[in-house]
């Protein structure tokens, strides 16, 4: 039972759950961004593992999907970091729970 595919699938599961844990417990924008990167990398590692062990590598669709995932994750990191900078400039702290512009005031 202990072969490479099993180990790699468990690794991607653990990375995904670490990402969920970080997203649910952290309020710092950069930590949440790091958690999202963990989620994305877990999904990409899962795709490559399944493509390698369960399907033939002749169809390279999995690798191309992971390339697209990497490109979009880089774009997401860029816009997330600019939001991080804007938060720090507007509120002084890069925490997401201080953002209340979109919240109703309860009047």
């Amino acid at each position: 039972m202990l072969n490479e595919a099993f180990i790699l699938i468990i690794t991607s599961v653990i990375l995904f759950i670490l990402g969920i844990y970080g997203l649910s417990t952290r309020r710092n924008a950069l930590k949440m961004l790091i958690s999202i990167e963990l989620l994305i990398n877990a999904a990409a590692l899962n795709i490559i593992t399944f493509a390698y062990y369960f399907y033939s590598l002749v169809s390279l669709d999995a690798q191309i999907f992971v390339l697209f995932i990497i490109a979009l994750a880089a774009a997401e990191a860029a816009i997330g970091l600019s939001i991080f900078l804007a938060l720090h400039r507007l509120y002084g702290v890069p925490d997401l729970d201080v953002v209340s512009k979109l919240r109703e005031t309860g009047e």
Partner: protein, 171 residues
């Protein structure tokens, strides 16, 4: 079990242990600079796993774009702001999250136990890598051409949005 298989399995187990350890440190590290450093370590190791899994091109792109570009972008962003420690959550928020995560992990691991991966690993020689790269390029240019256009449009919009958001000033 042959010696080569044992060495290969040990390398993968070592890389996987480093991946999980650096992931935990990236989430739990209180200093932001250390968290970004451990994220970079994790991204490099995942790139090496891609290379071991026969996806050499994806592994190189992962190391160049992800571990190089995104990590350095995060480090430069951290250099723009004054150095602050992370404000940690209240403990009662962390314990339910930890319990939920442990439950989720055990459910997923139990469900994985019923799947038995068959190791139908194709043999890949170095002479096939050029062929694989050519096939990737053909697929990207021919079959996935509309998707590349969409991704390029998304990245263009992201550039404009990043410039706009970065120019927001305090009222």
């Amino acid at each position: 079990m042959e010696l080569g298989l044992i060495i290969g399995l040990s390398v993968i187990v070592g890389l996987v242990a480093l991946t999980i350890l650096s992931g935990i440190l990236a989430i739990e590290s209180g200093e932001m600079m250390h968290a970004v450093f451990f994220l970079g370590v994790l991204l490099v190791i995942i790139g090496e796993l891609y290379i071991l899994l026969g996806a050499e091109f994806v592994g190189v792109v992962q190391i160049l774009v992800y571990a190089g570009g995104v990590t350095v972008l995060m480090l430069f962003t951290l250099l723009f702001i004054p150095r602050t420690k992370e404000r940690l959550e209240k403990p009662f928020m962390r314990i339910p999250s930890l319990i939920t995560v442990i439950l989720l992990l055990s459910i997923i691991l139990m469900s994985i136990g019923y799947v038995s991966p068959r190791a139908a690993v194709p043999e890949i020689g170095y002479e096939n890598i050029v062929e694989i790269l050519r096939n990737i390029a053909e697929l990207l240019v021919v079959d996935y051409k509309p998707l590349i256009g969409i991704v390029a449009l998304v990245i263009f919009i992201v550039m404009i949005a990043s410039a706009y958001i970065s120019s927001v000033k305090r009222e």
